[in-house]
């Protein structure tokens, strides 16, 4: 065994219980991103190599280390200063996923209930969980 490496199947805390190390690995987020206003900056992230500004309200996050398949969980949230005026609903969605990137969209719902894509006004969050390659 190389110095500085421990191989184990279970971690046991003195009082808080045990967790198998495969659950530690599988339960950890494999990527996350804090996307800045306008969708052009990435102030902080994990396992993201770059951000693509694809169109109004459409962005791509490219992974540094790819996912093992497209069967993973991706979630997005938008920061918005809610008010009682019109067009005050914001929607975040996952447009598509592949092993090397995830495509996300931000939008608002207008007074007619129509979904209109909109650039990120303040910031947005994305988290990815699943298996790495």
């Amino acid at each position: 065994m190389a110095f500085g490496i421990i191989k184990a199947d279970t971690l046991t805390h003195s009082t808080a219980g045990s967790v198998t190390t495969d659950n530690v690995v599988e339960g950890s987020a494999k990527a996350w991103a804090h996307i800045g206003a306008g969708g052009s900056t990435l102030p902080d992230s994990f396992n993201i190599s770059s951000l693509d500004d694809d169109d109004t309200g459409q962005y791509g996050l490219n992974y540094t280390n790819n996912m093992g398949s497209t069967l993973y969980s991706a979630n997005m949230n938008i920061t918005f200063n809610h008010s009682s005026t019109v067009n005050n609903v914001r929607v975040a969605e996952i447009e598509s996923k592949n092993t090397s990137s995830v495509e996300v969209d931000s939008a608002y719902v207008n007074s007619s209930g129509v979904y209109v894509e909109l650039d990120i006004e303040t910031n947005a969050s994305v988290t990815v969980q699943g298996n790495l390659a």
């Binding site: 003195s14 209930g113 298996n131």
Partner: protein
């Protein structure tokens, strides 16, 4: 023997960095970056209730469906990822998004109906990934 009894994991070279191998063995990732730093399951009603949580000190009732979640051990900056969801329905489907600006010590989210009118909801969820202070 493949169990480790331990209360703390600290990186040998860098205290805040423990590396784990990916599920399929093709990559390594930093354990700390993948761990959720805070999560909350709460109910917004006449009295807001924190049903279960990690690293949450308290909730502030900001109005119908509008809740500030106070982080116990603060994040390093406001550049973190927070993703959310709800259980329960408002008219036309419930939307939830981060309300206003995030800070290292708190985040605020609001649930609305499809017209953007805020309303209380059975259960709201949020999870934070990012860097602790």
């Amino acid at each position: 023997m493949s169990s480790i009894l331990v209360d703390n994991l600290t990186g040998k070279t860098t205290a805040g960095s423990v590396t784990v191998t990916s599920e399929q063995g093709g990559a390594t990732m930093q354990l700390q970056q993948g761990l959720a730093k805070c999560w909350a399951d709460y109910t917004t009603a006449a009295t807001f209730v924190l049903n279960d949580s990690l690293n949450v000190s308290s909730l502030d009732d900001e109005g119908a469906g509008d809740c500030t979640i106070n982080i116990n051990n603060d994040m390093n900056s406001a550049n973190y990822s927070v993703t959310s969801n709800v259980l329960g329905g408002l008219s036309g489907g419930t939307k939830i998004f981060q309300n206003g600006s995030k800070t290292s010590a708190a985040y605020r989210q609001i649930s609305t109906n499809s017209s953007g009118t805020a309303g209380d909801i059975g259960s709201s969820y949020a999870t934070i990934h990012g860097d602790l202070a």
